[in-house]
């Protein structure tokens, strides 16, 4: 609930549209009630053969109210939706602002794909919060208060009945169903998650299941799971339908009471019979805007869940960054020396430590290659240097500074990075290259594209989301181009050329090493060939350095590296 309050606070930034939406919603609701009241009165009056002008006035009123209602409804929809989408935009910006300092800390705990999908989905589902949870009850309240006030002039008793009806249909019944909904909803979500796992396992493990003849068994399990999930969904839907029908029934009963009590009062003489039709018509229409209240609990629940999940992430104490601990905001514009001292690191939730204990020294301006089997901790080491992950014990020094005291921005300003997965944004090649520096001119950009052998591309070529229209090799080359363009003196390269053939690789390395001549360079390499020119090679296995030295030293030693090299040479 506290989280929803934060959402409300963000929402209230759009006061003008909100007030307009509520006002127009009220006008629409009340003119609709007025319209039916007037037509009920008109008929009754007509039955008593009134003067013709009275009839004209009444019918004009009916018409006028009709138009007012239609216009007000249009305006209400317009403003409420405009408010909703502006609010959504504010929410996005607000969450981006909140999430931004938490990256990359947030990825220590949450898997990036899951998390981001969730943030986007949850922000999206909050659009229902304003549209279906926040303002309709306010409109409803206003319409009812005015209607009840109006009826009280004719009959206090009927006003009281309407009040009771309002309390029942807008508060009590939705509340009760809300409670039931909460229980079912949790179960549906749970079953859906389980089913999703079953399906994923069946489809992705299809070949193995088939070969191990477990397919039938798994298929049965899946169908059983699907059945329980469908049953829960059915339960949820029946609850929804029940809630709607029940609420509808209650409004009829209220109208019935209005009719019965009204009739009694007319017979009694306390109410003029001419108003009875009008009051009945009022009771039949005033509940119309209350109908959406039947689905209110569902959207309420959804919004609450969404906001809780969103704030769970950004307020998670495990991943908060305190800016106070960093004292160094600027690093010298020169090649750094790096020292790892007894570092230990394990991913959250993993059952073993990725790097149990490791020490390493990288002199300023040196070129270091890190090699080893997949899963040996090479990439993790690079993530640690970039502060994309944080050591659990031990220290990493950037010259004399412990990097835990250095602000991330200061370090990233100095780093030229190519990761295994490089992100490219929707836009053009130029826009993606200009990330490095917005001041660069096209001539320079083109020359760099030539260096990475991407001269076939024009700077205006389109890049789709996530760079999906580029091949793996093209993405790697574009990432290298981006790094070449960026300022800084520490190169961090994680298998930058794994999708390239060795000839292209050599040519690109040629340019890269020429530019990096005086810089410190860290390269995780998937290939052992071509490492002769590195100052040192670090060989890792299971998070530990098992060998290090220059290429010729390691080959002479005939140890692990030598064997890896022999194996690589024997691969077809």
């Amino acid at each position: 609930m506290r989280d929803l309050q934060k959402v409300i606070k963000l929402m209230l930034m759009e006061k003008k549209d909100i007030i307009l939406a509520i006002f127009l919603g009220f006008i629409a609701g009340i003119s609709s009630v007025g319209l039916f009241a007037a037509s009920g009165y008109l008929i009754s009056k007509a039955a008593l053969t009134p003067p013709f002008y009275a009839l004209i006035i009444l019918t004009s009123t009916v018409k006028l109210l009709g138009f007012v209602k239609a216009f007000a409804k249009y305006g209400e929809r317009l403003y409420s939706h405009r408010a909703t989408f502006t609010i959504l935009s504010n929410l996005r910006v607000a969450f981006f602002e909140k999430l931004e300092p938490l990256v990359p800390n947030v990825f220590h705990k949450y898997r990036s794909g899951d998390l981001l999908g969730r943030v986007v989905g949850d922000v999206e589902s909050l659009q229902n919060f304003f549209l279906r949870v926040f303002y309709p009850p306010l409109v409803l309240l206003l319409v009812f208060v005015s209607t009840i006030f109006f009826t009280s002039f004719y009959s206090m008793a009927i006003a009281v009945i309407l009040l009771v009806g309002f309390l029942l249909t807008a508060i009590v019944i939705p509340g009760l169903f809300s409670l039931r909904q909460m229980k079912i909803n949790g179960r549906v979500r749970q079953e859906r998650g389980d089913l999703s796992t079953e399906i994923t396992e069946l489809m992705y493990g299809f070949r193995d299941l088939k070969l191990f003849q477990q397919l039938d068994l798994k298929q049965d399990q899946l169908l059983a799971q699907s059945q329980t999930y469908i049953n829960e969904q059915k339960q949820e839907n029946i609850n929804k339908v029940y809630s709607q029908s029940f609420n509808g029934f209650i409004t009829f009963i209220i109208s019935w009471f209005v009719l019965a009590v009204g009739a009694y009062l007319v017979i009694d003489g306390t109410l003029d019979g001419i108003f009875l039709a009008m009051l009945v018509m009022i009771s039949l229409t005033v509940f119309e805007p209350a109908a959406p209240m039947a689905v209110f609990p569902i959207y309420m629940q959804e919004s609450r869940d969404a906001s809780t999940r969103l704030y769970d992430v950004v307020d998670d104490p495990d991943i908060q960054v305190s800016e106070a601990t960093t004292t160094v905001d600027q690093l010298p514009d020169a090649a750094p020396a790096l020292i790892f001292r007894d570092i230990r690191f394990g991913y959250m939730g993993d059952w073993r430590t990725t790097i149990p204990k490791l020490s390493l020294s990288i002199p300023s301006g040196s070129k270091t290659a890190i090699v080893g089997a997949s899963g040996s901790g090479k990439s993790t080491l690079l993530q640690l240097v970039l502060k994309l992950q944080q050591v659990q014990s031990g220290e990493i020094y950037w010259n004399q500074h412990d990097i835990s005291t250095v602000s991330g921005n200061a370090m990233w300003e100095q780093a030229k990075v190519v990761l295994q997965e490089n992100h490219f944004f929707y836009g053009t090649i130029r826009e993606n290259l200009l990330l490095a520096d917005t001041e660069l001119d096209d001539v320079l950009l083109k020359s760099v594209l030539a260096k990475v052998q991407l001269n076939l591309f024009s700077l205006d070529d389109h890049v789709s989301e996530n760079g999906e229209n580029l091949s793996g090799g093209e993405k790697q080359r574009l990432a290298i181009a981006r790094a070449l363009l960026k300022k800084g003196h520490l190169w961090v390269l994680d298998e930058p050329t794994s999708s390239l053939d060795s000839r292209t690789e050599q040519s690109i390395y040629h340019h890269l090493f020429a530019q990096a001549e005086n810089d410190t360079l860290l390269l995780v390499s998937h290939r052992l060939t071509g490492l002769e020119k590195m100052d040192q090679i670090i060989v890792m296995d299971h998070g530990q350095i098992i060998e290090s030295g220059s290429y010729s030293e390691l080959m002479e030693k005939q140890g692990y590296f030598y064997q890896m090299k022999t194996l690589e040479d024997s691969l077809l």
């Binding site: 008929i43 009444l58 070969l211 191990f212 003849q213 929707y426 996530n466």
Partner: protein, 577 residues
């Protein structure tokens, strides 16, 4: 569309029931109007006593109850039809997917199938649970209301009859103008949340390049742009409902005016008739308006339903199997490839007329460049695809005459990327066989596959959970689990897709030793990437572009086949130059 209708008519009994309930609902609505009018007229004009109207009041309560219950039941039927359809469709989909050749299952369509099975089927729900009951209500209730109005007062009926068609006409006119445009825009809208995701995913990159502030402005700008596009589309929808509103208001107004004039000036109708009509007319328009919104909402779920049902129309090659049991013997069978040929539907690749014979316990290496057809051969041998030409003969009998089960029962397939299921590591090894296995047997297998020390170092040993898709295991470890499965199974034929790279030296060694050991009792057919494997093979099948260039030992191929010599020598230090 045909399929969709079929799924609906499969539940025709409940559909008739639904029609019945809807008629009952319409009936209740009409009777309610009459009862209410009777009561109002009774006290207002005829000065009846309260006791005189009690019967009517009681009847009214009953009718209201009938109205609510029939509404509830008809919606409930929709829900239960939806549940049944979802169950059937999911079952049929799974059966269909399960019969597809593994080849297809692995051609990057897995993601699509997963979402089809989960979301696709779920999205079908509202078509059956909401759309169908709503369409019925919106068809029968106005019809009934109009008929009753006609019986009461022809003029009012005519007004309804004349104004009602304006509703669909307006919707069509506005719809035609904007439909295409708004659909184009809607596509953009759908991709917008993708753009937000794009930015979030790129946050690390943005940070590394010091560009987060600029991107924040970008989000706001594009968000507001998105809002404006959305509003353009919504305005169309709002205008539609505005017009509906105006039309219904106008005709309600005209009906009321006409009734009043008839009442006063001509005195041709009674208050009773007038009031009944006044109550019924809004019901008529409300139902019609709902039909509009229902069609709007129904479209998307209809689209989803059609997409799922289209899946059933696509014809797939199925895999052929026979009825005969292939009895597992102590000695592996002789496998003969007899003019074996295969080609994929959308590709130029052909595997052509392969002839070879694998004697029991031989070690076979299949080599060739990528795309030469090595994996296809392995898949054919595993029975994951059926040969289009020639045959695979097991002890002189065509493989397709045997049952799938009896062939798979004597086969182990060790792939490059074995799938690890969520469960314990012990359960994952036990998958190797369909028979129940003892704890010792599992440990024995793990020992032979060289993964026992690792498992025993874990806190929960063999009961350690390995997560979804085997999270937490490196590729070397997955490979060893897969080998352990093979040891447990004791197969007669082992198919091995040798890993290309990325294994640590320890796993490499274990892989070699384990395969040797399996080879003691089984024929091992390897897609080979390691020189060691090739050198020790009894027969090498050298493939080039789907054609078998030669069969022989390493030495004989080196001597006689320049292409083979070239391939081997390039790898041996060729790159170092």
């Amino acid at each position: 569309m045909q399929n969709l209708k079929k799924t609906v008519w499969m539940h025709n009994k409940r559909l008739y029931f639904l029609v019945g309930l809807t008629l009952l609902l319409g009936f209740a609505i009409v009777v309610q109007a009459f009862l209410m009018t009777t009561i109002v007229e009774g006290v207002f004009l005829e000065n009846l006593s309260f006791s005189a109207i009690t019967t009517w009041l009681v009847a009214l309560v009953l009718i209201l109850l009938i109205r609510a219950v029939s509404d509830y039941l008809s919606k409930r039927i929709g829900v239960s039809i939806a549940s049944d359809v979802k169950r059937d469709v999911r079952k049929r989909l799974i059966t269909k997917y399960a019969q597809q050749p593994v080849q297809l299952a692995e051609k990057g369509q897995t993601g699509k199938k997963v979402s089809m099975l989960l979301d696709g089927v779920d999205e079908m729900d509202s078509f059956y649970s909401q759309f169908i009951p709503q369409v019925m209500q919106s068809t029968f209730v106005p019809l009934l209301a109009m008929i009753v109005v006609f019986t009461q007062h022809v003029n009012s009926g005519i007004i309804l009859l004349l104004s009602a068609p304006f509703i669909p006409i307006f919707m069509i006119v506005i719809g035609m103008k904007t439909q295409k445009k708004s659909e184009e825009k809607l596509e953009k809208l759908a991709s917008f949340s993708g753009t937000f995701l794009d930015t979030l995913k790129g946050l690390v990159t943005l940070k590394l390049f010091g560009r987060t502030k600029r991107q924040q402005d970008e989000i706001e700008k594009s968000s507001l742009g998105f809002r404006d596009t959305t509003m353009d589309i919504l305005k169309v929808a709002f205008t539609q409902s505005f017009m509906l509103e105006i039309i219904s208001m106008l005709s309600i107004g005209i009906v009321a005016l006409e009734l009043a004039i008839q009442l006063i000036i001509y005195e041709s109708i009674s208050f009773f008739t007038a009031f009944v009509i006044l109550i019924l007319v809004p019901e008529f328009f409300t139902a019609l308006k709902e039909l509009g919104t229902t069609f709007h909402n129904g479209r998307s779920s209809m689209g989803a339903a059609n997409k799922v049902l289209e899946e059933f129309d696509t014809e797939d090659d199925t895999i052929k199997w026979g009825k005969r049991e292939l009895v597992k013997q102590d000695v592996p069978p002789t496998i003969q490839l007899d003019q074996l040929g295969f080609s994929y539907p959308d590709s130029n690749f052909h595997l052509e007329a392969i002839d070879a014979t694998f004697s029991p316990k031989q070690k076979i290496a299949i080599v060739g460049a990528s795309g030469a057809g090595k994996s296809t051969m392995l898949h054919l041998l595993a029975g994951m695809i059926t040969p289009q030409h020639g045959a695979i003969k097991i002890n002189q009998q065509d493989l397709v005459h045997f049952t799938e089960k009896s062939w798979l029962a004597q086969l182990s397939y060790i792939s490059q990327n074995p799938y690890i299921f969520s469960g314990t590591i012990g359960e994952n090894i036990a998958m190797g066989t369909t028979a129940s296995v003892s704890e010792e047997a599992i440990q024995q297998a793990a020992q032979s596959a060289g993964i026992a020390p690792l498992i025993e170092s874990l806190e929960k040993n063999y009961h350690t959970k390995v997560g979804e898709a085997g999270r937490g295991l490196s590729s070397g470890e997955k490979q060893r689990v897969s080998i352990a499965r093979a040891f447990l199974k004791k197969p007669n034929v082992v198919l091995l897709d040798e890993p290309t790279r990325g294994l640590d030296l320890a796993t490499e060694k274990i892989l070699q030793q384990s395969i040797e050991k399996l080879n003691e009792t089984a024929t091992v057919i390897t897609v080979a990437h390691r020189l060691h494997t090739i050198k020790t093979a009894d027969q090498i099948l050298f493939l080039e572009n789907g054609q078998l260039q030669a069969v022989g030992t390493h030495q004989s191929l080196l001597d006689n086949l320049p292409a083979y010599r070239e391939m081997v020598s390039i790898q041996q230090g060729g790159e170092q130059a």
